[in-house]
């Protein structure tokens, strides 16, 4: 029968696609890690780059990436969570809600280079901060907010209504219900979402070229004066990240081992993304289990 033959062919085709994609990803990851293997050591991860000679590291860049990530999360989690709460618990169908939703969707598909340019105009030039950590963090916030909002909204919506009713029936105000019952119950989902998006923030480059800049002062970790340009606490210093550094090494690397540096940085970047992924899954599961008591 012809239809059975077609069915077989189709099944084979779908398996082939799946196998192809998995093999492709596996080889991509192994290639990147293999190329960067020689650089995956403490020295490379901690020492500053060198300009004309081989052996430079990615210390400041790695640190900047992490610091930028943290600042971005500090800004975008409260706002995104707030907006998510609003959309899930307060928003009534209507024009305003539609506009907020349209804004979220528009922002979430905004090309990151446009966000970078917007950041250049507003956070770099208008504020007078110049290329800086804070300008970069704000640009990343613009990129991250819609994702954060959506993650929070979805997780909050999936909290069963029976919990809200239980809380109201005990005489809670709406805000108490949200803060003490709904948000904690939504936490596993929110945290998983946050960590997964953290990977994206960590690897972003286009939005940072024009905001956090393409240079990094050599950081002095004993300098805790937030107005000194070499202090890690200074948020108006330029802060080249790892992803931006790959881009720059490739274009302007004077060091003879520029290729290896880019390979190593790419491997580090990939590893971080893998770690974020695994962490998100693990933490999400653990929190969920703790909450539901099946420990």
């Amino acid at each position: 029968m012809k239809s059975k033959l077609y069915d077989k062919i189709a099944t084979i085709y779908f398996y082939a696609v799946a196998v192809f994609l998995i093999l492709f990803l596996a080889s991509l990851i192994s290639y990147i890690l293999y190329q960067g293997r020689t650089k995956l050591n403490i020295d490379f991860l901690t020492s500053p780059p060198k300009f004309m000679e081989a052996g430079g590291g990615i210390g400041p860049q790695l640190f900047n990436s992490l610091e930028l990530l943290i600042i971005t999360l500090i800004i975008s989690i409260p706002i995104g969570l707030g907006a998510g709460i609003y959309m899930a618990e307060y928003a009534k169908p209507g024009l305003l809600t539609e506009i907020i939703r349209l804004s979220i969707e528009t922002l979430s598909s905004m090309p990151s280079i446009v966000v970078g340019l917007f950041g250049l105009l507003v956070f770099v030039t208008m504020t007078g901060w110049g290329y800086s950590l804070i300008a970069g963090a704000l640009a990343l916030t613009v990129l991250n907010l819609p994702v954060m909002t959506r993650v929070s909204e979805d997780s909050i919506r999936s909290v069963p209504n029976s919990l809200r009713e239980a809380s109201y029936a005990l005489g809670s105000t709406k805000w108490q219900t949200i803060v003490k019952v709904v948000v904690p119950a939504a936490m596993p989902g929110i945290i998983t979402g946050i960590i997964l998006t953290a990977g994206r923030i960590f690897g972003e480059a286009a939005a940072l070229l024009y905001t956090a800049g393409m240079s990094s002062p050599a950081l002095n970790f004993s300098n805790l004066n937030p107005s000194s340009p070499t202090s890690p606490l200074n948020i108006v210093r330029p802060a080249e990240t790892l992803a931006v550094y790959i881009w720059k090494v490739n274009s302007e690397g004077l060091a003879p081992d520029a290729r290896q540096i880019a390979d190593g940085a790419a491997a580090v970047l990939l590893l971080m993304v893998l770690i974020f992924n695994i962490l998100a899954r693990w933490l999400g599961n653990t929190l969920y289990k703790r909450m539901t008591g099946e420990r």
Partner: protein
């Protein structure tokens, strides 16, 4: 003494009338059972008594509900009201937190912070809900790790912790096994000395066992109400009789 007086209560979900001119009084420290076929408005009715229906959009209510003579839709603040009129739901719905925190939740949101006082309340409430012995060693375990029957008693303890005057129970045992059901029925029998209880049930025998008064609903109307024995063995309305003898529903 009349604890609750309901007068000419109408309730609409949008354009659909779910309650039609309900008039019903509830005696203090008694158990009132609400019976009737599915969809007749039992849940809707009990939810008007602590204004849980306020949370649903498009609900319109007219008529009056008096609690100790005060109009709950006019004279009483809704949060105050819900403190005085507690509720237990059909499906056990403990919060995803520890057993202790579940019971302490109510007192806490009403401003009690003193650790010792909270401990006291938790113990007293769990005792009153006949759960203390089973959970006293696992107060800091997640409430979701309890069995269904224990969860439901925890929900009752949680309600008792805010010291309500009235307790509404919407089919509190329908999701439970017979043994848990029995325990909760016993509990209700004890609680009625201190509380006014309104219980919705599908189970005729349960209504017979636990209640002092019974009200029969049909299609949003209150067909008949009165002392349980009278309603069961000497119904005034043909429809009540048909329902109780299992001819429909």
């Amino acid at each position: 003494m009349k604890k609750i007086q309901v007068k000419d209560l109408d309730l609409f979900y949008g354009d659909v009338q779910a309650l039609k001119k309900i008039n019903l009084d509830v005696e203090e420290n008694s158990v009132l059972a609400l019976i009737g076929p599915s969809g007749c408005g039992k849940s809707t009715f009990v939810r008007t008594l602590n204004r849980m229906n306020d949370l649903i959009e498009g609900v319109k209510i007219s008529g009056t509900v008096l609690l100790d003579g005060q109009d709950i839709y006019k004279d009483v603040d809704v949060i105050e009201l819900r403190k005085r009129v507690g509720m237990v739901f059909q499906k056990p719905n403990p919060f995803p937190m520890t057993v202790y925190d579940n019971v302490a939740y109510g007192p806490r949101i009403h401003g009690i912070k003193d650790k010792k006082k909270l401990n006291e309340i938790v113990e007293k409430s769990l005792m009153a809900a006949a759960l203390w012995d089973e959970v006293k060693d696992r107060l800091s375990k997640s409430a979701l790790s309890l069995s269904g029957g224990q969860q439901q008693r925890l929900c009752i303890a949680r309600t008792l912790a805010i010291e309500p005057e009235v307790i509404l129970m919407d089919e509190p045992t329908s999701a439970l096994d017979p043994i848990s059901t029995m325990k909760i029925e016993e509990l209700i029998n004890e609680l009625k000395n201190k509380y006014t209880i309104i219980i919705v049930t599908h189970n005729m025998q349960q209504a017979g066992r636990v209640s002092d008064y019974t009200a029969f609903f049909l299609n949003g109307e209150l067909i008949e109400s009165g002392p349980t024995d009278r309603v069961f063995y000497n119904p005034k309305d043909k429809r009540t009789e048909d329902y109780i003898t299992g001819r429909f529903g």
